[in-house]
Symmetry: C2
Subunit: 257 residues, 2 copies
């Protein structure tokens, strides 16, 4: 199935589940939608924190079609599930934005770790959370984001345990993909990031860390979501966790080297 066909299946209700594992050669995107009044500050926030918030595209104000992301794409209907936040609180989960859409909405599509995980898997680097059938563990850190207007907070990271040689190769591979979080931000001691206990992630599931493995930490796309919620906008919309926007962007095209 092509990404175009996948989005059609979502649009007509034939597909409603999590998107992991589908159209593996193509980038999936985190979604953030907000009124134009907040868009400049949020865009500045993303630019100032590019490892956590790598932008794939930003829509024209009011536009639900974004050519840079995909052919004949309609952001109101092409994502399997959306979370609706009012004053920073999750108030609703919906399967379409047709009734909520406003002419001042601005759409942000942010790169997702699925893309670099596909690259790591291709190079034979084992991913523990995939082996164990879990979500990747994610942790709040004490590292402050660069603030922009109402958006601030701290960096959220994802963690993948690896042997040293795999960690080195993973640095090389992910460095080529700054558009999907890029190189890790830390290897080793969790306390350097303010993480007390790897067995108790703030999001996702814990995974086994074997003897001789190092925790490798990447900036995580949950960072802009927590910043968006903490800013308590009157109205903001995101994809439901795991239910991403499928784009026509080939993962390989995101390599800078």
């Amino acid at each position: 199935m092509t990404p175009y066909e996948f989005r059609r299946a979502v649009r007509n209700g034939a597909f409603r589940g999590p998107t992991a594992g589908h159209c593996g050669e193509f980038a999936q995107a985190n979604l953030a939608i907000m009124p134009e009044a907040y868009a400049l500050a949020f865009l500045r926030f993303c630019n100032a924190n590019p490892k956590a918030c790598p932008l794939l595209a930003v829509g024209d104000p009011g536009a639900y079609a974004i050519d840079a992301l995909g052919r004949d794409l309609d952001i109101r209907t092409d994502v399997p599930a959306y979370n609706v936040y009012r004053e920073g609180r999750l108030v609703e989960r919906v399967e379409s934005l047709s009734e909520l859409w406003q002419p001042d909405f601005v759409v942000f599509a942010i790169g997702c770790s699925f893309s670099f995980e596909a690259m790591l898997a291709r190079e034979g680097i084992p991913l523990r959370h995939v082996e164990e059938g879990r979500n990747v563990p994610m942790y709040r850190t004490t590292i402050p984001n660069r603030r922009a207007g109402v958006f601030g907070g701290e960096l959220v990271v994802s963690m993948r345990p690896m042997r040293g040689a795999d960690a080195i190769r993973a640095v090389q591979i992910t460095s080529r993909f700054p558009g999907v979080h890029g190189a890790p931000i830390h290897i080793g001691t969790p306390s350097a990031l303010g993480i007390a206990d790897l067995a108790r992630p703030d999001f996702g599931d814990p995974v086994t860390i074997r003897d001789g493995e190092l925790p490798v930490f990447w900036a995580c796309g949950v960072t802009p979501q927590t910043a968006l919620m903490a800013a308590r906008l009157p109205l903001a919309i995101a994809h439901a966790p795991g239910h991403m926007l499928m784009t026509d962007i080939e993962n390989t095209s995101l390599a800078v080297f």
Copy 2:
């Protein structure tokens, strides 16, 4: 002289000239300043055209200090010369923005080719315009920029002639620096970009192209300036050509690999 000391020399009027060749280890920045009403569209334009408009930093609305660019920096006084545009026309060149500053101004600092030229020179790749004591030749192309609001137009490129082996090495080196225009966008046939005659650049000076050399084209920071002028904003400000903002950002820190 450190970048901090250099900016102080500018601020107190001791330095007023072009900035090429000064503080060679540090990034210099193209400057664009406009009222907040246009800032979201311009920021979207830069994000949509990252090779031509690689952002080093965006200021808070109204802010003339930008910590991400340098210590105790004052954008109103720390650039040797500014061009003032009204309705897209150059109306004035000034040495300070103290009288023109508005509380709704947003500052954009865009990466500059001086940074990657320093990297090429370090690797022993000769730069013809430097050898010949000229400005780099720049050309308007027929390649459309991705449009964002009032900002559109076509890509402007700079050209450096090189032997094949040097061109290959230059691709490798500049690919590491997406924050300062990154890899070239074209090698060879100028007509593929809609350039009729390399001897007649639209900006800068012509340079000698020797037998066996290929023209190598990079996206150029003049692109956002021409887009800004063509949009005919009531008021916009840029650095005067060649008179850049000196930052505290080390060129080497911009490498993604």
